[in-house]
């Protein structure tokens, strides 16, 4: 069993969890993920590792409450335990000195971008971070990212912070910079990474994305996470999760992610809020 050391909602619907998982913490690297189960009857779901503390043996996850498992995770409180945290899985993000690197982060991807930006900075890159959100109140970890970036830019859908719109404005934003961009990393939902790749393609800048298809085991056994990259079928868990965004078949990926959409609604209906409230009460009282 793995103990939750802290859990809180840091912006609406996004939860910051610190979990005791020393074996994972010891080996974690930027770009890797864990598979967790929130309870014995639970599903196995992949979540990016947003930070770790090797001495304390802890890892940090940012969880967006969008379905049954993420909902249950979000309901867990300090001292609660979960049955599975396995990893670190997937290949670490390739970090070299590329020159000037643009880190594009949105939504739960802001968390997983943090260790990547930090590692890029440590390698001597000039790091420009673009944080994207629907509105300014959904931005988080700005201070942490500022600390490892040379510049932080914002894009909000409603224009409450920085540029108004979405990552499709990338070409004009880049035009405003003094220096050329040598490489782009994009972390966020599939749709955001697709848009980022589409926007950077005409600029001819290599754009790495961190894919998040449906997974079960995370070690290459089940094959559900397959994605078409450069015309070949690859398994995101063992060949990825990072791929060249210009090579990814986005339409297929978006469609495969929808496979269980109707079923995902069922546990929400049947589990009910009262049960979540009960978990919260139990963990707070206990």
């Amino acid at each position: 069993m793995f103990r939750i050391l802290s859990s809180r909602m840091i912006v609406p619907n996004i939860h910051l969890l610190t979990i005791e998982a020393p074996a994972v913490a010891r080996q974690a690297n930027p770009g890797q993920f864990v598979i967790i189960r929130a309870e014995e009857e639970g599903e196995r779901v992949p979540l990016s590792i947003s930070d770790w503390d090797r001495q304390m043996g802890t890892i940090t996850l940012l969880v967006m409450n969008i379905g049954s498992t993420t909902g249950r995770l979000a309901a867990l409180r300090e001292r609660a335990t979960i049955p599975t945290v396995v990893g670190p899985l997937g290949n670490a993000t390739e970090i070299e000195n590329y020159g000037t690197v643009l880190c594009l982060a949105g939504c739960y991807g802001i968390g997983s971008m943090f260790p990547i930006a930090r590692a890029l900075k440590e390698k001597g890159n000039r790091v420009i971070t673009i944080l994207e959100a629907r509105s300014a109140y959904l931005l988080y970890w700005e201070e942490r990212l500022k600390a490892v970036s040379d510049k932080v830019v914002h894009i909000t859908r409603d224009g409450t912070r920085g540029f108004r719109g979405h990552v499709g404005r990338l070409p004009e934003i880049i035009k405003g910079f003094d220096e050329p961009i040598d490489r782009i990393y994009a972390n966020g939902c599939t749709f955001m990474m697709m848009r980022s790749s589409q926007a950077s393609r005409p600029l001819g800048i290599k754009t790495m994305v961190s894919l998040n298809p449906i997974m079960i085991d995370g070690t290459g056994m089940c094959g559900v996470c397959r994605v078409r990259v450069g015309g070949a079928t690859r398994f995101a868990c063992v060949h990825g999760p990072d791929f060249d965004g210009h090579e990814v078949d986005w339409e297929e990926l978006l469609q495969r992610r929808k496979t269980y959409l109707p079923e995902e609604v069922v546990p929400l209906q049947t589990s009910g809020c009262d049960q979540h409230a009960h978990i919260v009460k139990e963990t707070v009282d206990g």
Partner: protein, 468 residues
């Protein structure tokens, strides 16, 4: 002592009761119900106790088959269990899923007369009898040697290695990537063929002997082989077959096209058929086509049937060449799985939402024998068959799991991604590292994996005994 050997050969092989097909096609409970005591004794008494037991020579783990059968004939079940367990830690599993007709039973001298002894069913009988007694006997254990062995993967090869080595006095830790021990026995083989409670029981038996079990631990990721070598005197890698094969034909990534591993894992390991009580979703499809003809294909097709689908197996050769066990083919046929022989998928057709809706196949005929010795299927020009489906399960095989190879410098990996080992000992190219099972052979059977495990355990024990 009564003479179990009858005067005249009794060629009447005793049948094992089964759930009727019309009942079992709607449930996930075990199909075969096992011999009642009287039937087991009757069947055992048919054994003529050959002086040269050819059945034993064909058993990869060399179980003393006449020995345990003689005990059943004399109604000494306790004695039978101890003979059986002397060579086999997993009798309840082997009695159910070993291809006996290709191994021990094929070598039975009565096979020529069509009345070979039902060795597998008798093995299963003893294992189940012991379980029904409630308490599993723990054999006398030797003093600890203080040597430590890490076993990678919790499947049949690994469980065998662990059992053998702990009985030799070594300390054993098994590292399993999933949250449950058992490997393919848990995630792959369905409940109706191998109840999970039986796997759990056998795993608990190992635990009672002192084997340490670590789940949720991916060797090659959580720790590397090199890390483990710092703490352990020897390592056995039984990480199994990962990476499912696909045919690389158009439409293979449409929604509704599964690998057998995904399909079976959702059902078995994750208990998706109990959704939403268990949270992993499965689809209740109306028409399912399973590609392939092995045991895994049968498991998928029969699972689909139990989820309420019209279930069809598409296989490119004829019934004669089906690689699955005959018993499983017959079970599938009885339950109503439809077989399309000499049929090869060439294209999946999707609907406007990206879901598979039809599968286009090339009809084949059998030509000259190929390298495998089987007649090679060749296309009949212009003969195309199309099936409307809402799901396809690809059960055509797997490559060995690549994680260990990719993260272990100096480990020799073969062309097929397999770990290369010395055939007689299971020793890999790395010092103190052995391997066996599917990661060496590619997808094969439970008993072959166990045989490899036994061999490796012998070699590991020899090595550990040579240490100061």
């Amino acid at each position: 002592m009564a003479d179990p050997q009858p005067k005249k050969l009794d060629l009447h092989r005793r049948e094992m009761p089964k759930q009727p097909p019309e009942v079992r096609q709607h449930n996930f409970s075990e199909v075969a119900l096992g011999y009642p005591i009287e039937t087991a004794v009757e069947e055992a008494r048919r054994c003529i106790q050959c002086k040269k037991p050819t059945c034993v020579f064909e058993c990869p783990v060399e179980i003393d088959i006449p020995g345990f059968i003689k005990c059943i004939a004399q109604q000494d079940f306790t004695g039978g269990v101890s003979i059986l367990k002397n060579k086999n830690c997993l009798p309840a599993i082997c009695g159910r899923v070993c291809p006996q007709e290709e191994q021990c039973e094929k070598a039975c001298v009565l096979v020529k007369k069509g009345g070979q002894i039902a060795i597998g069913r008798l093995e299963r009988f003893l294992a189940d009898w012991e379980a029904a007694q409630g308490v599993l006997g723990i054999p006398a254990m030797p003093p600890s040697t203080g040597k430590r062995v890490a076993v990678v993967g919790g499947g049949p090869a690994s469980l065998t290695v662990a059992g053998d080595l702990i009985k030799s006095g070594h300390q054993v830790t098994i590292f399993e990537a999933l949250h449950k021990m058992g490997g393919v026995l848990i995630y792959g083989i369905p409940e109706f063929r191998l109840p999970k409670a039986i796997v759990t029981r056998e795993v608990e038996f190992l635990q009672s002997l002192g084997v340490e079990l670590v789940t949720d631990f991916v060797v090659g990721k959580t720790r590397s082989i090199d890390d483990l070598l710092e703490e352990y005197d020897a390592i056995f890698v039984g990480s199994g077959a990962g990476l499912p094969w696909f045919m690389e034909i158009p439409g293979e990534n449409l929604n509704g096209v599964y690998s057998a591993n995904e399909y079976l894992t959702r059902l078995n390991l994750m208990k998706g058929f109990l959704f939403p009580k268990y949270h992993t979703p499965v689809k209740f499809h109306k028409r399912v086509v399973v590609i392939g003809g092995g045991n895994v294909a049968m498991d998928c097709a029969r699972s689909a049937l139990r989820l309420g689908a019209e279930s069809r197996i598409v296989y490119r050769r004829s019934r004669q060449e089906l690689p699955a066990r005959l018993e499983e083919i017959e079970n599938a046929e009885e339950e109503g799985v439809i077989f399309e022989y000499l049929t090869l998928p060439i294209r999946y057709i999707g609907d406007e939402n990206g879901w598979v809706k039809a599968i286009e196949c090339q009809k084949m005929e059998l030509g000259e024998p190929d390298a495998s010795g089987r007649r090679k299927p060749v296309p009949i020009e212009g003969a195309i068959a199309t099936f409307e489906v809402d799901a396809v399960v690809c059960a055509i095989g797997n490559s060995p799991n690549p994680l260990i190879g990719a993260t272990t410098p100096g480990l020799t990996i073969g062309k097929k991604g397999n770990i290369e080992v010395d055939e007689a000992t299971g020793k890999s190219s790395r010092d103190r590292v052995w391997a066996g099972g599917d990661v060496v052979t590619g997808a094969a059977t439970v008993i072959l994996a166990m045989g490899a495990g036994r061999q490796a355990a012998k070699s590991i024990h020899q090595y550990l005994s040579s240490l100061p």
